[in-house]
């Protein structure tokens, strides 16, 4: 789960990490008031769950409360398109107003899980303020890494090594070490999957300050973090994805027009790949889950039917725990309420496949039944030329 910059900074602040003085506004009037309280000169930052805001016009420095109001008015209620959002952009419902910092130098600092090393790793770099992927590609030697033993935790000497490795001024070694230790504590206590400060700045008056921050949380650990769950902003997510998550369905919206419903993540990806090999593109990733019920299948299928981008549907069910007859009944139930105007191709195999096919055949949905993935892809190709 992602959170906004202002929420991330509030958490950093709880962990003693310095952040700029700031306020959050959801109306232009609030923005003016906050700017006025802060002396007029502020940075206005659009709050969306994506990076690249600066280049997209989502971050602006202003010199007066009136200007802050005008900039906020231009951002609030709009969708901001950055290189990370896709063409549809993300809605700006809040702006963060911050005291501008005089930057002497910018650094990068993050904690992530390294699945190769099977532990959290601290990453730090003198090349701050740019995307770390870019640093990794052009100057990997500028990235310092320190693996954390999960049993004993991050040790003070590791923090010192990183601080010295960043060539920080002598008087900042101790505060930087503390800051790194605190960021790790934040990461561990809240089950983050990413805790990133970029840039971590040294200000003109020689202080460390987190000027931008990103916190992502492990979805699987959210049940034990009620406070973090409350930070969720469903407006930043695709409405169909939000709907799917209510029913325990893994769903990711994609750009194509072939809606697909599959049981199992690996088979779902294989199905998407097969679709793209037949010159079509999937409209989504959808895994109903291994042990889906008839109701979950029906919900999943309704999602596909409600997506106006979907021009044809491919169902691929390998019956195991989820029996094919249960899947078939779910599909029929979903179609009973909505008029189906798109061709449906179904491949069913495994437990109770014959019963499942029988249910679909008797349903007069006009479903095309196929036996293997190749045939499914061929039928999808054919449906494209027909439509």
């Amino acid at each position: 789960m992602k959170v906004h910059e202002y929420q991330a900074k509030a958490i950093l602040s709880e962990y003693g990490i310095p952040v700029p003085n700031a306020g959050v506004a959801s109306t232009p009037e609030e923005a003016r008031q906050i700017a006025q309280d802060m002396g007029g000169t502020v940075v206005v930052k659009a709050q969306i769950h994506a990076g690249g805001r600066g280049m997209a016009g989502g971050v602006k420095s202003v010199g007066s409360p009136q200007e802050a109001e005008a900039v906020a008015k231009g951002l609030l209620g709009q969708r901001l398109v950055t290189h990370q959002t896709g063409p549809e952009g993300a809605p700006v419902n809040r702006v963060l107003l911050e005291e501008p910092a005089q930057i002497a130098k910018e650094y990068y600092l993050a904690v992530i899980i390294d699945s190769g090393a099977r532990c959290p790793v601290i990453m730090a770099s003198e090349a701050g303020g740019v995307e770390i992927e870019e640093v990794a590609a052009t100057a990997p030697e500028k990235i310092l890494r320190s693996n954390v033993d999960p049993v004993i935790g991050l040790q003070p000497f590791q923090c010192r090594n990183l601080a010295y490795g960043l060539n920080l001024p002598a008087d900042l070694i101790r505060p930087a070490s503390t800051l790194i230790a605190n960021l790790y504590k934040l990461f561990e206590n809240n089950d983050c999957s990413l805790a990133e400060i970029n840039p971590l700045a040294i200000t003109a008056d020689g202080q460390l300050m987190a000027l931008d921050a990103k916190l992502n949380f492990d979805d699987d650990a959210l049940p034990r973090h009620a406070q973090i769950q409350e930070l969720r902003d469903a407006d930043q997510e695709d409405p169909l994805e939000v709907e799917a998550s209510k029913f325990g369905i893994s769903y990711v919206k994609l750009d194509g027009d072939v809606g697909c419903m599959v049981n199992g993540a690996g088979l779902a990806m294989a199905t998407m790949d097969s679709i793209s090999m037949s010159d079509a593109m999937p409209a989504n990733f959808l895994d109903v889950g291994g042990g889906a019920t008839e109701e979950q299948v029906a919900q999943a299928f309704r999602l596909l039917l409600s997506d106006s981008q979907v021009k044809r549907i491919l169902v691929n069910v390998f019956g195991g725990i989820l029996r094919c007859d249960v899947a078939a009944r779910g599909i029929v139930a979903a179609c009973e309420e909505t008029e189906v105007r798109v061709p449906i191709v179904v491949r069913m195999l495994g437990t109770n496949a014959d019963e499942g096919k029988d249910i679909l055949n008797k349903s007069d949905l006009g479903v095309t039944l196929v036996n293997d993935l190749n045939e499914a892809a061929t039928m999808i190709k054919r449906s494209a030329s027909a439509s």
Binding site: G116, P150, D220, G266, G290, G320
Partner: protein
């Protein structure tokens, strides 16, 4: 014939009395697995289905039944603890089916397992099966399998069934099929399994099914190139997945170019793996590889 599980397997199920645990344990017994014990704290001294003794602790179960394989159906919040309990009791092989265990829990489990003799399969996996020994430790549909001499290793569940089904349909039986799981941090890796299949005189070839995320396929490719002498058929799914998004499996998220499907395919090809041209052609590619 097989690796890891066989006629000598004595299975203990953690979470036996739960809905999932009960359902799948019955299927395992039907397939021929020797289920000797269940563990559910608070249900000790009872009999499950009037035939399997249930214990409060793994330690008791092991000392009274000599169970040597653990299968875990415990809910995600308690699954890491269940793995640790069986490891502590000295069980040599654990298969954890549970999906959705927090990553930091698995980081700690992985560290604890480092110097222990226990091997963990999963979590978030279908388990493992040796058709020739009629031994099924997991949730895969038993009837699609056939005894034979091809090993299967996969990060996926249903995609493994797809592969097995294609093999069986072409008359190619399996020695052992292992689902190593879809989580970013799990127990056994592709390389661990390849080592066992290399040593198994009754496995002639291996199907390896990978997906986007991490670098496990590249590690497998390195091992295959340098040490593995049997034919390998490979498939990597997720070509069409967008970067930064989780495709169902927590491990299936593209971060960095090495995590992409085409990079993994390239590495496997360079190591001499026969890469199936599409997910529908796993079986036929193996048939050709076997000659």
């Amino acid at each position: 014939m097989s690796i890891l599980v066989n006629e000598n397997t004595r299975l203990m199920v953690q979470g036996l009395t739960g809905r999932e645990g009960s359902f799948h344990s019955l299927r395992c017994i039907e397939y021929g697995t020797n289920l000797v014990a269940g563990v559910t704290p608070g249900r000790g001294d009872t009999m499950w289905e009037e035939k399997v003794p249930v214990f409060n602790t793994v330690k008791q179960a092991v000392s009274e039944t000599e169970a040597n394989v653990a299968l875990i159906f415990v809910p995600a919040a308690f699954a890491a603890d269940a793995i640790l309990e069986s490891t502590d009791a000295g069980i040599p092989l654990i298969a954890c089916i549970t999906e959705g265990i927090p990553v930091m829990d698995m980081v700690r489990v992985a560290k604890y397992l480092e110097d222990k003799p226990t091997r963990l399969i999963g979590p978030n996996c279908p388990g493992l099966i040796s058709p020739g020994s009629s031994c099924k430790i997991g949730i895969m549909p038993g009837n699609i399998h056939a005894p034979g001499r091809v090993g299967v290793i996969s990060r996926s569940g249903t995609l493994t069934y797809e592969a097995v089904n294609q093999l069986t349909a072409l008359g190619i039986g399996q020695s052992t099929c292992v689902g190593i799981g879809g989580d970013p941090i799990g127990g056994t890796s592709f390389v661990d399994m390849l080592k066992l299949f290399q040593e198994d005189p009754e496995t002639d070839a291996v199907v390896l099914i990978g997906e986007i995320g991490g670098t496990k396929e590249q590690e497998a490719a390195d091992y295959i190139r340098d040490h593995f002498t049997k034919p390998v058929v490979g498939l990597v799914v997720g070509t069409t997945a967008p970067p930064g998004r989780r495709m169902g499996h927590a491990g299936a998220i593209i971060t960095g170019s090495a995590a992409k499907a085409d990079e993994k395919v390239k590495a496997l090809r360079a190591a001499g793996v026969h890469v199936a041209p599409s997910p529908a052609e796993i079986g036929i590619t193996m048939k050709q590889a076997l000659g």
